[in-house]
Amino acid sequence: MRRLHGGLIGRWRRSLQLRVVTSTLLISLSVVTLLGLFLLGRVTQGILATQRRSALAEAEGGLRLAQATLLDLPSTSSADTVDEEIARLTDLLASQGGEVGTFDVLVLSSTDARAFISPVEDSSRSIDEVPVGLRPVVARRSQLAYAYTEVVRRGSRQPALVVGAPLSGNLVTGRYELYYVFPLGTEAATLSLVRRTMLGGGVGLAMLVAAVSGLVARQVVRPVRVAARTAERFAAGRLETRMAVHGEDEISRLGEAFNEMAAALQQKIGELQDLSRLQHRFVSDVSHELRTPLTTVRMAADLMHAARADFPPEVARAAELLANELDRFEALLADLLEISKLDAGAVALDAEPIDLVALAQRVVRGLAPLAARSGSDLVVRVPQGDAAIAECDGRRIERIVRNLVANAIEHGESRPIEVTVAGDPDAVAVVVRDHGVGLRPGDASRVFSRFWRGDPSRARHTGGTGLGLSIAIEDARLHGGWLQAWGEPGQGSVFRLTLPRRVGTELARSPLPLQPSAVPSA
């Protein structure tokens, strides 16, 4: 039930057509209902007014006759004669009939319970048919009064109009009231027919309007749906996708506009891809062409460096500088090539299950001499105590971790550096924590920018290329992982690498916190 409900809501939100049809149906139904009620009221009033006019005319005629008859009675008449006369009168009045159809006539005594009813043969007629509220009105007034009520005729209840007037007789006869009961069965039937017809017609009309609106909406929505599907395909990378254009209407114009936009985008994307490929190709070629002469220079420099003891001091120092700067030159070249490859998307992930604990330990072992030289204590912590295996490209991940640890040594002010490795069912994290200069506000995101230097005035020990962290973050992204930084001036800094256990899964959270718990957030 709830699913059905949810499905309906979903459909409602997804389908423009459903919304158009529903709202059209609701609006047309309410308009038809209001209109129907108004018309029905007018028709009812009209019919009843006509009927009432005739009924009043009939009653007035009858009243005059009865009044005259009653006054003409000799004052010597006995009570029985009077009763007889009134019963005859009643029958006479009832038999007149006219354009108002059949009606019944009652003459009631105002002083006692005598009642004269015509026709008498039907026992269902009684003085009860005269509405209780009408009699005092009739008794008080001297002219015609009327009220609506319900009577039973031929076994069915139907509305009726009761018209009444006082009959003033003489002393012998006493006072009477004359009542006409006009059953409104015919009028009721007519009104009921009108009501049924209007209800049917109204509902039919509303349905028709809804159907028409549905049809119209469909005609508009279908091309819109096609356009949406086409746009989705285009966004998914199928740049050759186009909309089919028929005719010259608005929808076709939409299609044409879409196709023009798609063509322009495809062209631009193609140009950019070509440009990026070309650029990568160029950087790659330059770097490779540079490598052969650089190798010769490198070997020559090393040869001279090895023999520098035999040179005069200036030349020996020059040989030293040459060899050292060649190292930087090479590192820069390698990093430039790597980043151009990453930029061009020309790298393939060579993923296999790798234990990040072992990897971190290996990196720390490799960098131990550097740490010892700068006086930093370098430890690997494994709080969970066992392997943390993730599918990744070991070469790239080792490069990231080595980069983070080398950075920590460089900026760690000879204070301890901790490398923590931990995992949860979905992800594995490596956190490198130093207690050095830390990062200034805003630097946590800038450290990953190319050629960014934390503090230009600071001397560089390890001579990084300024591209290390930029490459590291690209490598992390390549794995669908995160590389994040935290730091406070004087509190040191934290770099956290989080990798999904399986390539291609989305990371939701990291097994380790980025911000160290010991440091209050500023």
Binding site: H288, L294, T295, L303, L337, D355, G366
Partner: protein, 228 residues
Amino acid sequence: MVGVRGRVLVVDDDPALAEMLGIVLRSEGFEPYFVADGERAMAAFRQTKPDVVLLDIMLPGKDGLEVCRAIRAESGVPIVMLTARTDTIDVVLGLESGADDYVVKPFKPKELIARVRARLRRNEEVGPETLNIGDVEIDVAGHRVTRGDQQIALTPLEFDLLVALARKPRQVFTREVLLEQVWGYRHAADTRLVNVHVQRLRAKVERDPEQPEVVLTVRGVGYKAGPP
């Protein structure tokens, strides 16, 4: 100078680099020979019978990969590639063509010499020793690998790899340990070397390389020898 330690054939088209390589090799006591293009490489190889080949992958004429395959077709001589490309595909192609090891330009002279020495250093003093993995028998002193009556021809490097695994049949070797023991790398190096050579070794010693019985993969760790 410590006398001649080995004959090295340098296949490289860049005259300055070739000359510099010659200077460095000679200073380390090697005896270098040079050939500048791929077409003449095989003739020079047959003529000089080198102990190690230094092969530039980018060559005019025949390219380095073809030269590599041609040499491998007739000899197990150690081949060290010189490459300017670090792209996985180039390195793997070179290794699959039969190269034992590679150095990436620009390399330091020491690095190159270390690679060449590692390829030349063989287990000199081995007593008679026979190892078994499955139905494969290894005669360590005689450098022979046989399955039944059939001899399996391995390059010296593949032989060393198989012996390293077979000597400790229960031990799982990480790629890094194998790089150190077989290739002589003291620092972490490219583990693709191990992957490619294990594949080549399997192609030769396994009955079905898809379902190895001699060299087993231990997922997430490395390799180990199959049961004897």
